[in-house]
Amino acid sequence: MIVFSENVDTFSFDRCIANVAAVIKDLKYAESHEWVKVDGNSATVGITDHAQDHLGDVVYVELPELGTEVTQGNSFGAVESVKATSDINSPVSGKVVEVNEELNGSPALVVNTSPYEEGWIIKVELKDAGELNNLKDADAYSKFCDEEDAKH
């Protein structure tokens, strides 16, 4: 797995060459393969490169309504790929304050090609920053993904 500290353009290019899933160093990760980027009281959430790679081309994203309360570990929406809906679980608790309207068009163009940047899914007003301690950092998440794939 490739770990990047910045410059996600490099991520896209190197991923094509190496065909391995990537993580971004400064994000936090859930075992259900969502990432969160925290900025003060605001959190941006999406699915990881590992997830989009395993899911296949995303054809539809079911987004929550603005104002929806999300809870760490619980589902708030779903992606559709290869005839399957897959739950998206929130890595943090709080209130949805923004959803990525770009996903209503051609979601594969953003979720699959830019899962950590243009492919973000929701923004949340954080309820409890302490919950971030329940998540993995980039190195721990990378190791988790490698172990999960090795089991199958």
Binding site: V82, K83, A84, T85, D149, H152
Partner: protein, 320 residues
């Protein structure tokens, strides 16, 4: 007269094994609690049978799967049951519904009626349209359709990850065993086909710890029912723009209905300890309140979708 019996909670009938906060696989078999319960003497026999099955399954290392069979269950009821069992129980289930009732159109979660259906005839003929909770395309089902649904914990099948292609790779192998030597069966671009003709449409839904893979098999169908469906814009390459009557085929031309059901159960035996469950068992293990996402589209919704496909309709109405 009731007996008082000290039982391991996992040995209670499936009706009592409900855990809405379920977070793990069948590791939870070893982490249950002991309860003192009042048990009718008839249930003692069932407990003995369940204990026997548990000993057998532990011996073989296979997870339990509850097999429940219906005949003619309406598809909306079936889908609601499936979604509830997926999200509110921690058991593995196989649901076999031998035929639905009246012809019904079933779209996937992102299906758009205007793009997928010949709406004027659907509305004119009062054909019900359902939007289901799983992904995938549009089918029309009736009494000639046989449904096989598998609901599993994510660790139930070794080497299968809770992702669509991994699940389908395994289901393809399962049905390879069912259709061995019959009609050039294969999983082709995620469809079940004989040669280049589709006879089974499948779809899935995956949660954090469980997944469902359900299939509608075209045992038989009415050609005229296929005319309600448009050629979808998202279609597998092997379809080659064929219309429905040239693209699908009838399973009855390849094997007997009872043989298909028997072979499916036998194939499942290779992966699970299959235990029959009655519809009453299923009903009693369900939680009282559950918000289904599968729904029947209203006539108004269909009419609005139909109107949206007609350019100039609003202007003409305004000028009258």
């Amino acid at each position: 007269m009731a007996l008082f019996v000290l039982v391991h909670s996992w040995l209670l009938p499936v009706t009592n094994r409900i855990d809405p906060t379920y977070t793990g696989g069948h590791d939870s078999i070893s982490s249950s609690s002991w309860n003192s319960v009042s048990v009718h003497p008839d249930q003692v026999l069932r407990l003995k049978k369940t204990m026997g099955l548990l000993r057998q399954s532990e011996k073989l290392g296979l997870p339990l799967m509850n097999l429940v069979r219906f005949k003619g269950m309406p598809i909306l009821d079936q889908l609601n049951l499936e979604e509830k069992l997926l999200r509110t129980t921690s058991d593995n289930w196989c649901i076999l519904n031998d035929g639905a009732d009246a012809p019904t159109i079933v779209m996937g979660v992102s299906g758009k009626p205007a793009e997928l259906l010949e709406l004027e005839s659907v509305i004119g003929d009062n054909v019900p349209v359902i939007k289901r909770f799983t992904g995938g395309g549009t089918v029309i089902v009736d009494e000639g359709t046989i449904f096989v649904t598998l609901i599993c914990n994510k660790d139930a099948v070794p080497k299968v990850q809770p992702y669509p292609r991994s699940i389908m790779s395994w289901s393809g192998k399962l049905y390879d065993e069912v259709f061995q030597g019959i009609g050039d069966f294969q999983l082709r671009e995620n469809d079940y086909v004989f040669g280049n003709r589709k006879f089974g449409g499948n779809a899935q839904s995956i949660t954090k710890d469980r997944w469902i893979h359900h299939t509608s098999f075209l045992w038989d169908y009415e050609d005229r029912n296929m005319t309600y469906l448009k050629l979808p814009s998202r279609a597998p390459e092997y379809r080659s723009a064929r219309d429905h009557t040239e693209f699908v085929c009838r399973m009855r031309e390849y094997l007997q209905r009872s043989a298909f059901i028997d072979k499916t159960i036998k194939a499942l035996d290779n992966y699970f300890m299959v235990q029959p469950a009655t519809p009453a068992d299923v009903n009693s293990c369900q939680v009282a309140k559950f918000a289904h996402s599968t729904r029947l589209l209203s006539k108004q919704e269909l009419e609005d979708a139909c109107s949206s496909t007609k350019p100039g309709t609003i202007a003409q109405s305004a000028s009258i």
